[in-house]
């Protein structure tokens, strides 16, 4: 039975979508990545439940907003590969996102803990 007053599927989707961006920014913060490799790494994040194909439009959007850069590298095993990396602006935004996420998780964790103690 679906909970009344909120579409839990929609809420989860929106939450994951926001987190997905955070994960991409952090994965690319270490090194530039080939699209396929990036998708595979994201797929291994527990609870993120990534539909692999959805990553590419998101990468394209982040590149268009100037947070990511791309470069094409020829491949001996197939077609040319597109590599993604954080731009300077992307690096700055990633720092802000991580700070925000830290504050959020801390605040939300505290609230959750209080709630569990009350009902526990």
């Amino acid at each position: 039975m679906k909970p009344r007053g909120i579409d839990i599927d929609n809420w989860t989707t929106q939450l994951r979508k926001g987190l997905l961006e955070l994960c991409i920014m952090n994965l690319l913060g270490k090194q530039e990545l080939y699209g396929y490799d990036l998708v595979k790494q994201l797929g291994r994040v527990p609870g993120l439940v990534v539909t692999e194909g959805t990553i590419y439009p998101l990468l394209s959007r982040l590149r268009k907003t100037g947070l990511l850069t791309t470069r094409i590298e020829e491949s001996s095993s197939g077609p040319a590969r597109r590599y993604y990396a954080l731009s300077e602006e992307g690096t700055r935004v990633r720092t802000l996102m991580n700070r925000c996420w830290g504050e959020l998780t801390e605040g939300v964790g505290r609230i959750r803990q209080q709630g569990e103690e009350t009902h526990g």
């Binding site: 579409d7 599927d9 929609n10 989707t13 929106q14 979508k17 699209g35 396929y36 998708v39 539909t51 692999e52 194909g53 959805t54 590419y56 439009p57 998101l58 990468l59 394209s60 959007r61 590149r63 268009k64 197939g78 077609p79 590969r81 597109r82």
Partner: protein
């Protein structure tokens, strides 16, 4: 070397076309997304070390990658309740409609020029009918007015002719009555044209300012008449502007009445001032 069956290649192309169509609606960089996606699919499909990529194998790969709606971000966006979600739903419906719309070979678009032509023909026929009806009504009204005018003209002619005849008869009665004959000439003194002729010694006496039924009435004495006395002529004349002719009825002391047509307006019969019954002309 991994090979693809033609069916699998065609299936992948169709899948990517759908992704492109949906991504285009979201103003994405379609070429970039499709290229990345193709690379991903190829890499994933060939990772199993199979020598031949079939449609079944491709379907299993695509099941993990996601449907075109999921990949293009449509599905998650469609879940929302906002205005943007509604717009996207509309776009999806439009795509579905266009996908299910009959192809040109099915005939629907071919019908459009024919329908348009039929519309023009119908509009032309309606306009022509309206014009014909308008002309018909106008013609009937004109004919009715003309008939009324001809009827009025015919009635006027009858009245004018009767008036001339009455004048003839009255003159004859005056001449034969001999009520008052002060000068003893055997002719009644008052009212007859003959006496007026003698009294004023004039040749023309107009005793009209009558203009009835479209006719001007005129009456005058002529020098020679029957039995040595003066004759007379009474005229009812009307000018017809439409023909430029004057129609007149002329009665004389001989008792005859004739109908005459002459070109131009009637001459000689002046309009008398109001209240004046008679005018003697030199």
């Amino acid at each position: 070397m991994v090979e693809w069956t033609p069916e699998a290649t065609e299936y992948l192309d169709g899948y990517l076309k759908q992704v492109a169509a949906l991504a285009r609606h979201q103003e994405e960089d379609v070429d970039e997304i499709v290229q990345d996606l193709r690379d991903h699919v190829v890499q994933e499909a060939e990772a199993a070390s199979e020598t031949m990529i079939t449609t079944d194998r491709l379907r299993r790969v695509l099941a993990v990658i996601g449907t075109p709606e999921q990949v293009s971000g449509f599905e998650s966006a469609l879940v929302g309740n906002g205005e943007g979600a509604a717009t996207l739903r509309g776009a999806v419906d439009e795509l579905k409609r266009s996908a299910s719309a009959p192809t040109p070979a099915a005939g629907a678009p071919h019908d459009r020029p024919a329908k348009r032509a039929m519309g023009f023909v119908r509009a032309f026929l309606i306009a022509a009918c309206c014009l014909l009806i308008g002309y018909g009504i106008g013609w009937l009204q004109t004919r009715h007015r003309l008939e009324r005018a001809y009827d009025a003209r015919a009635i006027g002619e009858v009245y004018a002719m009767q008036t001339v005849r009455h004048l003839q008869e009255l003159e004859e009665q005056f001449r034969g009555a001999e009520y008052i004959d002060e000068d003893g000439d055997g002719t009644a003194d008052y009212g007859t044209l003959m006496e007026l002729m003698e009294r004023f010694d004039e040749t023309r006496v107009h005793m009209n300012n009558l203009s009835k039924w479209g006719y001007t009435l005129d009456m005058h004495v002529t020098p020679s008449g029957v039995e040595g006395g003066p004759g007379f002529e009474c005229i009812a004349a009307a000018y017809r502007e439409d023909t430029g002719q004057t129609v007149s009825f002329r009665g004389s002391h001989t008792g005859s009445i004739g109908r005459f047509l002459t070109d131009g307006a009637p001459s000689g019969a002046p309009t008398l001032p109001a209240g004046q019954k008679m005018q003697v002309l030199p």
